[in-house]
């Protein structure tokens, strides 16, 4: 194969795979946004919290499975606590207020996580070999592939949950029309709790994968900033949109870094995704797969 082409494909594949990682975080947002209209800025802090808790428990001698179970429990409690203590009292407030509240929550979680577990960087080894291997002349990171697999499993799991379980169906009803759902006797608070627990679990998965890749440290909570353009592009209310947009953002970032970076200087991955997402939004204001809402008056 032409080495330039191979390199291009390599860049794209690398981008797509890291895009999966973005989508992983974005899905946590979508879950909550779909059911309660809250853009949960604390999702990033939850990712940090999950990873930090898990690593710290491992370092304190817990076996892998034990640490995982304990972290899982902690995340469930955390999700429930946020929903109960913060979101429930703010029900019916404008979305911007809810968003600012989650900004406050993210400060609390970040502070608490580091106060409890310290601020030093922890390595996290999930036991996955990160040597790249070659498929048809293209180098692919084994770890990224693994992450993509996990993300795929998670999406499949969530899909099955929404399609085949009572709570899942209720969730979809709420997402489609909260008022109608309320009228038919669905219990909104219970669904909200469920969704926050789910978001906590998604954060745990994202935290482990991101933590393994970047090291577990404060900057992990900044993955939220990577997820935002993905959300904007995919639409805040579409899981499929989040995945698709994650892939696009990942590829665009890598491509522009490699091919555009040399001309306008490196480090553009900090904002190029935003600009790309916004440019798209100006054409389609509710994102790739988001619902276009009719203004109600």
């Amino acid at each position: 194969m032409n080495p330039d082409l191979a390199f291009l494909i390599e860049v794209i594949v690398g981008g797509l795979l890291s895009g999966v990682m973005y989508a992983l975080v974005a899905i946590g947002f979508v879950l909550i946004y779909k059911t309660s209209g809250v853009l949960n800025f604390a999702q990033g802090a939850m990712v940090l919290f999950a990873a930090l808790t898990f690593v710290s428990l491992l370092e304190r001698g817990l076996p892998f499975a034990g640490a995982l179970a304990a972290t899982l429990a902690v995340m469930v409690v955390l999700g429930l606590a946020i929903e109960r203590a913060v979101l429930r009292p703010l029900v019916n407030q404008p979305p911007i207020t809810l968003f600012m509240a989650t900004l406050g929550v993210s400060y609390v979680i970040e502070g608490a996580a580091q106060l409890a577990w310290g601020t030093q960087v922890h390595g996290l080894d999930l036991g996955i070999d990160d040597t790249p291997f070659e498929i048809g002349g293209v180098l692919v990171s084994r770890f990224d592939l693994f992450a993509a697999g996990i993300a795929g499993l998670m999406v499949a799991g969530l899909t099955a949950f929404f399609r085949y379980t009572r709570t899942g169906l209720a969730f979809r009803a709420v997402a489609d029309d909260p008022f109608a759902a309320l009228n038919t006797g669905l219990r909104l608070p219970r669904i909200w709790s469920a969704v926050w627990i789910a978001a906590g679990l998604v954060a745990l998965v994202a935290g482990l994968l991101w933590g393994a890749r970047l090291g577990v440290q404060f900057s992990l909570s900044l993955v939220v900033l990577k997820a935002l353009p993905v959300l904007v592009l995919g639409g805040f209310d579409s899981i499929a949109g989040a995945i698709l947009a994650g892939l696009i953002v990942g590829a665009v970032e890598k491509l522009s870094e490699v091919y555009l970076g040399p001309f306008i200087g490196g480090g553009i991955e900090g904002w190029i995704a935003y600009v790309a997402a916004l440019a798209f939004l100006l054409v389609r204001p509710s994102g790739l797969l988001g619902l276009r809402s009719v203004e109600r008056v």
Partner: protein, 344 residues
């Protein structure tokens, strides 16, 4: 006086006017006599700069209802514009330089506000984040902006107006005070004007505003421009009067959040809110540090302090949003009316 323009507002209480005058007398007449340089440098000057930034953001977010997460970017634009103007056009007197820097920030604000014509809510908030990251990147990348300083850190020019130096701690405080008083008065005129009404109208019901003839797009851009002007000048104060240096890292996302928090805690949609909120944000770490040292002794290091501060701040944000959406301003008003009730 603005009598014809303010008639629609609740009649200004004489008590309030007296309170305001008293405040000015204290700030101008008494503080400079008794203040220490610690008071000026650690409390008053940063308080003034942050309050001004909060005031600017409040016009946009509190009055016009447009959430911005990029305030620090506009502070940076203002600060760096003023730095470059005074570096490259040293003939300009400082007040002109600062005004021009405000205009540059306002222009940046209008450009950043363009997406607001298409996007709303979170989508718009995310687009202001793009501005935040883009400005940070540009400042780091384009060496010319920081006079090709290898470290990226540059020293702010001297604060001299008409031959009078405001270089010492008290001078920098007085300089900031003058700027803040001037711009607060301007903001007050604005929110009391028909245009100020338009801002609230597009916040409370954009469609109804459009139907009644408010030019929504123009008003939104105006909100971005005016807000960014004030935030930009606040950036100049922050860099020139408080830190006396400029570096991109000083205007990061955390600063943007800090200013948003000032507005939320102080009270969205009130001018006083920015001052109460900024006072709170500046004093909080000092109180926490004292408290922590008293309780934990030496175990309370700066890292722990920072974490505690984050937690307390986060809890306060949530608490204010739940319990007192009108912020400290509402608490303050209640306390005043209770005192008055007792006195009567």
């Amino acid at each position: 006086m603005a009598a014809t323009l303010t008639v629609s507002a609740p009649r200004a209480l004489p008590a309030r006017t007296i309170g305001l005058l008293l405040l000015v007398v204290i700030a101008l007449g008494i503080v400079p006599l008794v203040g220490t340089s610690y008071l000026y440098e650690a409390i008053l000057t940063p308080f003034l700069a942050l309050a001004l930034a909060g005031l600017g953001l409040n016009l946009l977010t509190g009055y016009a209802g447009l959430l911005s997460l990029g305030s620090a970017a506009f502070m940076a634009v203002g600060a760096y514009a003023a730095f470059n103007l005074s570096l490259r056009l040293p003939v300009l007197p400082l007040p002109i330089t600062i005004f021009a820097a405000g205009l540059v920030a306002a222009l940046a604000g209008v450009v950043a506000g363009l997406p607001a014509l298409r996007l709303r809510g979170f989508y718009l908030a995310v687009s202001t984040l793009a501005v935040q990251f883009f400005v940070a990147w540009a400042l780091n990348r384009i060496g010319w902006l920081s006079n090709d300083s290898p470290s990226g850190i540059v020293t702010a020019p001297r604060l001299v107006v008409a031959g009078i130096s405001f270089e010492d701690a008290r001078g920098r405080y007085l300089f900031s005070l003058a700027v803040v008083v001037l711009l607060t008065f301007a903001a007050w005129r604005l929110v009391r004007s028909p245009t100020g009404r338009d801002l609230v109208a597009i916040r409370d019901h954009e469609i109804a505003a459009r139907i009644t003839g408010v030019r929504v797009a123009r008003t939104k851009l105006l909100a971005f421009g005016l807000s960014s002007f004030i935030v930009g000048v606040a950036g100049v104060l922050w860099a020139f009067a408080y830190l006396r240096t400029l570096e991109p890292a000083g205007f990061n996302l955390d600063r943007s959040f800090q200013i948003l928090f000032i507005v939320i805690i102080g009270g969205l949609g009130t001018l006083r809110g920015a001052f109460l909120g900024a006072g709170f944000i500046v004093v909080l770490p000092l109180i926490l540090a004292r408290l922590g040292a008293a309780i934990l002794g030496d175990g309370f290091d700066s890292g722990t302090l920072e974490m505690c501060q984050r937690i307390v701040l986060g809890i306060l944000i949530v608490a204010v949003l739940i319990r007192e959406p009108a912020g400290l301003t509402a608490l303050f008003d209640r306390a005043v009316s209770r005192l008055r009730g007792r006195a009567a």
